[in-house]
Point group: C2
Chain length 215, copies 2
Amino acid sequence: MSTRDRLVATAAQLYGRFGYTGVGLKQVAAEAGVPIGSLYHFFPGGKEELAAEALRLSGQGYQLLVEGVFESAPDLVTGIRTCFDSAAEVLAASGYADACWIETVALEVASTNEPLRLVTAEIFERWIEAATRLVEAAGAVDAESARRFGIAIITGLEGAFVLSRSLRSPEPLHATGESLVAAAEAVLSARPGAGQSRAGQSRAGQPRAGKGGRR
Amino acid sequence: MSTRDRLVATAAQLYGRFGYTGVGLKQVAAEAGVPIGSLYHFFPGGKEELAAEALRLSGQGYQLLVEGVFESAPDLVTGIRTCFDSAAEVLAASGYADACWIETVALEVASTNEPLRLVTAEIFERWIEAATRLVEAAGAVDAESARRFGIAIITGLEGAFVLSRSLRSPEPLHATGESLVAAAEAVLSARPGAGQSRAGQSRAGQPRAGKGGRR
DNA sequence: GTCTATAAACCGATAGAC
DNA sequence: GTCTATCGGTTTATAGAC
């Protein structure tokens, strides 16, 4: 792993735990075992450039992770359930520390650092587009409602992360996931050619009970 | 307005824009027109005590605000719509700065400051209980699913704030609100004595069309 | 490319005069 | 209760030797 990659990786890790303003460059360099001068050699733009790079890398990482979960699920509804349930497991296993650090930084910079705000906006926009594609693949009617529900999945996940981390409980993630499952069934049953019962399959599997508990 | 109240109010304002680690006590004191010595006179616990007080005050304020919106709405579904739509208006009017600053601080302190984390947890728990009461008043079946959907309203709102602030667009708030409306109709139609069509009224009004647009 | 030293500004917190 | 000066430590960033 190159010096540069090590800096980006430890920056992502530290910004995730302490936030953007909560971590100094000296701390990042020390943790990565790199002198501060080398940091400015690779990132002449200083803290901002390093954070932008870390954000973009983590943003892509999170996207691939979630897309993988959905694509290996038999249908959209189980994809949503698996996504929120496994997020709850990972979060609890890390002592409620590792959720989505991009949202922490996004809130910190939203009104204070325009270049970094734009970086987070690009990441979120890509996530929305990816989620929209997943909903469309599940058979939702028009592009507009697919995007609308794709956004709801992202916002639900991010909001549940906040409460689950603060409360140190998986309950917000489970509850939000179940609410999105109910919404997905409603959205998908409204598509042309769908019966008015709860549906939601796109490529396999029998209709699930859907009312299910928190396992 | 007393010196003490002025400190708490400006602290809430500054922490909202720059985050907890992003604002110094000197800055708070200067903005409030108070010498730093007086700040430590009223808050011997320093930054942490001041932030805790500001969090509790703002937490109660947000709760009263949202409860007022829901209680003056004819039913749960229009309460949700009004809540998300007016939040989008307020946010846009402030240049996408004033959403919910408690979540910014909650993420910052979640893994770094246990006393403040507990303060945010208490606030979120009260919000959940308030939201649960609103859902129960709308006629949802059991206490468990009422709490589950109450949580989803809070997490949806908080998550939508993150994306709307980052993207500087009302779209995430509108999309999340519509998704919660669909989920509410599904949850409420499952209650005993309800037809299996989409419902959602609790005290007034005819059944709405429910599929409606973004106005 | 690597590393050290340092500048200039800021941080939270305290002491002590008034 | 108000206000100032200051301590010790941190921040971002740069200069310059190697």
